[in-house]
Structures are given as C-alpha cells and as structure tokens.
C-alpha cells in the first residue's frame, strides 16, 4: 500500500503494512499505478459515512489478516457505541443525576406475566434493575441512573439478545409526562454530542429529532392503525399481534413517537390514571418502528402492588411458567417511596438506531452464538 504526502497526519503510520484496511470518513482514490491516495484534508466532495456517523476525523484501522472478521468489522460500530455511552453519562451528570449500581443477581425478580428471568443458582440474573432502584428512591435518592446488563430468557431475534444493556433512570417528584420530556432531551443531546445532529436516517427513513416529538394515546393508535378498539383486542387476545403487525411499524416514522396510556393490566408496576382506572400512566418510545424505551409513573401503594404481583404470578402459573417469590423487602419499603417516575431504555437499540444497524448483532461485541 502506498500513501501520499498527507499521510503524515495519520497516527501510527509506521505500523501500516500490506493487508491493512482502513475505514476512512473521507473518500479514497486509487491512482493508475494501484496506489491509494489517502486525503485526510477535507475534499470538496466530502460526504459523511451514513453508517458510522459522527466519527469526525477519526479513522478506525481494520486489520484484515485477523481471523475473527465478525468482530473486526464491528470495530467502527463499537467505537461509536462507546461514544454514545459516554455522552449519555455526561448528559445525566450534567442534569444532576447520580450513577448508581445495584446487584445483577437477585433473589426475587418482579413477577410479570411475560418476562422470564434467567436462573443463577437459586437466585436470578435481574431482568431489570427496577426493584433495587425503587428501593433507593424510597431511601431518599432523588435522581438516579444506571447502565447495566440485564437478562431475559428466550428473547432472541434481530432486535433481541438475552443479555442486553439497559439504561434506567428514576426521578422523584415527577410523573410520566416529565419523563417523556427528559427522554426526548436526552436522545437529542446525545445525538448532537456524537455528531449526528438533529436528523438521523434509520432503515432508509429520515427521523427528525427536533422537539416536540409525536405523542399518541395507545387507544387512538389502535383505532387509527389497527382499526380495532384496544379493549376489544385485549379481550379477544389479539392485542400483541395487532401491536406487532399493524401499530409498531407505523410509529416513530418521521419523528420519534411516544405512545401512552396503556391498559392497566399491561403495567404491573405503574400507577393508574386518576380519571380512568382502566389505564396505567405508562408510555413507550418508538423510533423508526423500533421500540426503544418504556417508562411510567410508579405505583407506590404496597398493597395494590402485592395484588398485582399475585395476579401476574397466577397468569404465569396458568401458562405453566415458574412462579416467582414475592419481593417482600421491596414491598415493605415501597410505601416510603415518594411519587416518582422511572424509565428503561435499551442501549443496544439506541445504538442500532444511531448507526442505522438492521440487527442487534451489529452493535454488540459478541452474540451468545459466538461464545
């Protein structure tokens, strides 16, 4: 491989040898003699790489002689992932949130009908840090966030991986509508900091990140996109099918979309709406049809929470799934939790959206199949 006079701007050039491939944010040109001209000064025709945005002048060096190509080729994506994580942390710290860490291994996950925890000895790997973080709220921690690994059994597909990274944050004294605003600001800020700006492309669709974002009550989304009343779909068991087939693909197309006010039975830990007890103050954020975050105003009534856990466990028993021990300590302390709201955001999926990746496999270092 040959190089031109501007090559001296590249660090580590002396280590370059034949067979080394570089991914450059700038166009490369080939001379008639087969040499490659590397122009690290801006070309008039400069176009940013859509699939690895925000790299600026950074050039990721890829060595093609390394055997594990699937890992080698993710180098640019994982570099971006690291930047996104850093930007998220900076954003929270700037807003006065504390980063906290709670145990990954817990004795009793929250019983929920459709979330299966991965056993670890006689305990479980947590499917979410929710219970421990709410115990911290109850103890007077007011603005906390955590970025951690979570595990959910049997979830594998192009948007799912059984061990994934979740960002959860909890905020005392606010409800789910404040959380929606915080969520929009976070994603907008992070996009700007990693160099994406206010417009991203995901699955060939431009998504405009400028606020206000779209908000639609789930009931309305059912009528509009599935042409079926939400209550009817719940009764005849077609709720999830309609969500996946008719509703989700239409959400977050031009702007990110918050869908809010879920049926009470679909929010086992959420507070019900005062004016309509059939609905929970819960929302989901969608971008380009991909579900990205789930948040709600927290239920703070221990007795009501116990009834809901019992009901979820009954559902689990009826489906032949393991029933979980009631998290007693959580219930004991829940009564002391101030009115709060909390949200879980899938980091892997945020990276997918920012990098325009079609599969979650593209944004993690290793998939379970590669171990």
């Amino acid at each position: 491989m040959g190089y031109g006079k501007d090559a001296r701007f590249v660090k580590g050039l002396s280590r370059w040898s034949q067979g080394l491939y570089i991914f450059s944010p700038r166009p490369l040109t080939q001379t008639e003699t087969g040499f490659v001209a590397l122009a690290f000064r801006p070309f008039p025709s400069f176009v940013p790489i859509p699939r690895s945005p925000g790299m600026g002048d950074e050039t990721v060096i890829i060595n093609s002689s390394i055997k594990n190509w699937s890992l080698v080729r993710r180098k640019t994506a994982l570099r971006q992932r690291a930047k996104i994580l850093q930007a998220i942390r900076d954003c929270f710290v700037g807003q006065g949130f504390w980063e906290v860490e709670t145990p990954h291994r817990i004795p009793a996950p929250a019983p929920e009908s459709y979330i299966d925890a991965v056993p670890s000895g006689s305990w479980f790997l947590h499917p979410s840090p929710e219970l421990c973080m709410k115990r911290m709220l109850a103890a007077g921690y007011e603005k906390i966030f955590q970025i951690c690994r979570c595990w959910r059994e049997g979830e594998r597909g192009s948007q799912h991986i059984p061990e994934f990274t979740l960002l959860e944050w909890y905020h005392s004294g606010v409800d789910y509508s404040t959380l929606m605003e915080e969520c929009a600001v976070l994603i907008q800020t992070v996009a700007t900091r990693v160099g994406l700006g206010e417009r991203i492309i995901f699955c060939d669709q431009p998504i405009d990140l400028t606020t206000p974002w779209e908000k639609i009550p789930l009931r309305k989304a059912f009528l509009e996109y599935a042409k079926t009343p939400m209550e009817e779909a719940l009764k005849d068991g077609s709720f999830d099918e309609l969500m996946v087939r008719d509703i989700e693909p239409r959400l977050g197309k031009k702007k990110p979309t918050f869908v809010f006010d879920y049926p009470a039975e679909r929010g086992a830990l959420a507070r019900l709406k005062i004016e309509d007890r059939t609905l929970a103050e819960r929302f989901e954020l969608y971008m380009g049809g991909l579900e990205l975050a789930n948040g709600f105003s927290e239920l703070a009534d221990p007795e009501e929470q116990r009834r809901r856990f019992d009901r979820e466990n009954e559902n689990r028993r009826a489906m032949g799934k393991p029933v979980y021990v009631i998290p007693e300590r959580f219930l004991e302390e829940l009564g002391e939790m101030p009115p709060s709201a909390g949200i879980a955001l899938g980091i892997d999926r945020l990276v997918m959206i920012f990098l325009d990746a079609r599969s979650i496999d593209e944004v993690v270092a290793f998939t379970p199949e590669e171990l």
């Binding site: 490369l28 049997g154 999830d240 969500m243």
Partner: protein, 187 residues
C-alpha cells in the same frame, strides 16, 4: 415435539399433515407483551408459502422425512441430478423444490436428499460449503458508505455480501443456514 422457541430458519415441521420448512423467522415481543414468533413457511410438496405467527406454548410435530445420503452431480435446465451413494441410483429434483438450497449446490457435494412418501422434495445441506468467488468489486473505490461489506457472486450464481479483502478467484466458506459469508479459505 418442537416448541415455538425452537423455530428458526430451515426447521421442518408438519402443519395440517404436510411438511413445511421455515423460510423466514422473526422474534417479536411488544413491551411487556407476549413473545410472538413470526414465520413464513413453505409447503415442501406444493411449494406454496404461508405466513403464520406463533405464540409461546405452541408446539409442532417435526416433519419426519426420510433422508438418503446422495451426491449432487449436475444440473440440466431446471433439473438437478443426484446420485444415491449406496445404490448409485440417480434421481432428479426440480429447482422449485430445492428453493434456496440450489445456491449452494456444487458438483460432488454430499447432501441428504429428503423424501416424503418416497418422493424427493428437497435436500439437507451441510452447514458449511466452500464456494469460489467469481465476481466482486475491487475494494478500494472510495465508496466508504458501504465500507464493511461488498457484493459478490459465487460460482453457483448466488449473490451475497463479503468482506472487502476477499478478491475474485478466492474460496470462501458460506453458512448454508443463513446464506452468509463465514470465513475465507486459505489454499
């Protein structure tokens, strides 16, 4: 007996007494909702495709097909000729029945021919096959937008995406279950 969580591309199951092969599979799970397994299934006898969504708890009979080890010989129009390794008997399978498998058939490849009521209806391929790249772009073209993979055609006419460093004439291993590039073969 298979359960919904066993579903994957290539799995063969019985539905309404006919053997079907899963040709598309996607796992979905709307927030706090139940797991849904969306599939496309191809009827291995009629070739017709149907869309089906399964739920957790759904179960299937595996399609019990007779498997016979055979060798792929050659292709004549849309007819693919195979030879039984034991009896040397030759059989023909048409292109439609082979579906995607035809992309990976290279002369002398050992496969398992699948029979349903004595009629050959498809083949089971080895998980990995080696095929030669016959056409691909030179990588350094300044097209940094698709920096990580480039299109290529292998000797069977199958098109796939391969890493930039693989050139024409090189041998690559393809995972027949996904149809994707796996590694480069050093010769």
């Amino acid at each position: 007996m298979y359960s919904a969580s066993d579903l994957r591309k290539g799995l063969k199951v019985v539905i309404d007494r006919d053997p079907y092969v899963v040709t598309f599979f996607e796992f979905s799970k709307p927030g706090k909702g139940q797991a849904l397994y969306r599939t496309k299934l191809r009827n291995m006898i009629t070739g017709l495709t149907l869309d089906r969504t399964f739920r957790e708890g759904d179960t299937f009979e595996p399609a019990s097909l007779e498997e016979r080890p055979m060798q792929y010989l050659y292709k004549e129009g849309s007819h693919y000729h195979f030879m039984d390794n034991q009896t040397y008997e030759q059989i023909i399978i048409n292109e439609e029945s082979l579906a995607e498998s035809k992309n990976f058939l290279i002369e002398n490849l050992n496969v398992k021919v699948l029979l349903f009521r004595d009629k050959p209806i498809g083949v089971d391929l080895p998980n990995f096959v080696n095929l030669r790249v016959i056409k691909t772009e030179l990588w350094v073209k300044g097209d940094t937008s698709k920096a990580d993979y480039k299109p290529a055609t292998v000797e069977t006419g199958y098109e796939l995406r391969i890493p930039p460093f693989v050139g024409e004439g090189e041998l690559i291993t393809i995972d027949t279950r996904t149809g994707e590039y796996s590694t480069r073969v050093k010769e």
